[in-house]
């Protein structure tokens, strides 16, 4: 059955230490009776083994599987900066291996001003080859996350092209329902109230979901219990047709409009109810 996880970046309220405390996010996911928790690299307090092991055990004891570790990356950079991006992803692959998290979420490339998508593609592909190879050495898979806002891959075709060019069992795909072209929520875009996802978005999701290990379900405006910018009824139709049996990862990004303590339980309620209705 479809499991519902919480992505830690949905929680942005700092704890007593002034930072979001991942231990508290894990406890919160358990209180919501979620099935797993997915962790964002930037929210880790350290990479010390004792801290990592404490987080791993905390999730395990609460019945929560960690399906991926999210790392920011930009393989559109060049030279020494590109090397830094690659090395950072590699470091987090090693953290994931230590924590026995099977997948590291990686974003593609921003297209710098003056460059074209085609001119960036070779270094995007070569970077993914390199990190996937590193993943294999550590038995951790790399999860390619579609991402818009002038980044690639931002379409279903681009995701499939990159997966096929690398063609490696250690490179998987993480669908993000709000980050394909056509989504009103794609980062970097001017947000306008009342906009809804264009037809194009659902076509991209449909094209890539057969290759996905995880689906990140974005929430932007769900004050009345139903997400308004994206149509989850429609997304669940696509999930059902695809046979997908992995986790959904709740990613809340509507902090400018609604408190996370209201929005996250609303998102859980909507996904659970749709999963029941669609029998997935």
């Amino acid at each position: 059955m479809i499991r519902v996880n919480l992505f830690s970046l949905s929680c942005r309220k700092p704890g007593p230490g002034g930072q979001v405390d991942l231990a508290r996010v894990i406890d919160y996911a358990a209180e919501l009776r979620l099935d797993g928790v997915d962790l964002e690299a930037r929210q880790f307090a350290s990479k010390e083994p004792a801290y990592l092991e404490q987080l791993r055990l905390r999730a395990f004891e609460r019945g929560l599987a960690i399906s991926y570790l999210g790392v920011r990356s930009d393989f559109g950079r060049a030279g020494a900066q590109l090397r830094e991006e690659i090395d950072r992803v590699k470091e987090w692959i090693e953290v994931a291996a230590y924590m026995r998290i099977p997948l590291v979420r990686v974003i593609g490339a921003n297209v710098p001003a003056g460059a074209t998508e085609d001119s960036v593609w070779p270094r995007l592909r070569d970077s993914f080859r390199e990190i996937t190879e590193h993943g294999r050495r550590h038995a951790v898979r790399v999860g390619l996350h579609n991402h818009n806002h002038g980044a690639i891959p931002a379409t279903g075709d681009q995701v499939l092209r990159l997966l096929d060019e690398i063609d490696d069992p250690y490179l998987q795909h993480i669908v993000d329902t709000g980050q394909f072209r056509g989504s009103p929520g794609a980062s970097g875009q001017q947000r306008q109230e009342g906009r809804v996802a264009g037809e194009e978005l659902y076509g991209h999701i449909e094209a890539t979901i057969p290759r996905a290990s995880v689906v990140r379900t974005k929430f932007y405006r769900n004050g009345d219990g139903r997400e308004r910018w994206l149509d989850y009824d429609r997304v669940f139709g696509i999930i059902k047709a695809s046979g997908f049996n992995g986790p959904l990862s709740i990613v809340y990004e509507g902090h400018d409009a609604l408190d996370e303590e209201v929005a996250i339980p609303n998102a859980v309620g909507e996904l659970r109810s749709l999963a029941r209705r669609y029998g997935v």
Partner: protein
Amino acid sequence: MIKLSLQSLCYRDTFRAGKIDLYGIIDRAAGLRFDGIDLHSGHFASTEPAYLEDLRLRCLRRGLHVCYIGVSNDFGKKGADLDKQLAMVIRWVDVAAGMGVPMVRVFGAWVPQGEAEESVWPRLVETTKKAVAHARERRVALGLHNHNHGCIPATGAQVLRLLDAVGDPYYMHILDTGQYRGSPGASKGDRGKEDPAHDFYGSIRTSAPRAVHVRAKVYRIASGEERWLDYGRILPVIKQTGFNGWMSVVFEGQDEIDEETAVPLATAYLRSQLTRHGM
């Protein structure tokens, strides 16, 4: 929510007959839309790294979490035989660590004929401590499985006693709903009959708050409903603890119906019971 896992021993007879292997069982679990799978050590074709990695990736590709590897140890043995049992557990802890599986299921001890339960305890505790020390070093939990059939721990109180005597954060509890003393599934020599002298539902109540995993036994499912265990009684007890982990479907009614028929029935039954109880 509680997540359902398939224990590979549900296909015990099919496996023994050579009609399915572990790959096939993983595919069966995915076909039934399970959330996870428990792998019994006896079902592994080898412990070669390439094979283990292949199994791990197959589970991941199918959206299945591997909850634990089951090892059938007996820490009631003595001398060199006991050393062999410990070595076996240690070997499977290493396999689990390599595969990223968080837990290894272990038993306690069979009480040898002519020996009193009490005299077995010291070597059970001491050997378990040695196994747990290795498991801690490899960061793999050992999950203590309550087990009757002449074993200890066979009651809720005995499970708590052993957990506390070992007292280690890497020593956890796997609750088996059909294996407490008095259960119709575990009564010595009188299978199918609950022994009222032993309150096995009471044992479940006692150890459930310590459980990180539940094995839900199914013995008589031909009608579509389990007849030997009363899940209408068991699930509220588990719910009350706030348990939010994994529950395995463990079918052991091969003397009634075949596995191909039974496993989908058992799965549908447990899912419907979990929904009914809001778990």
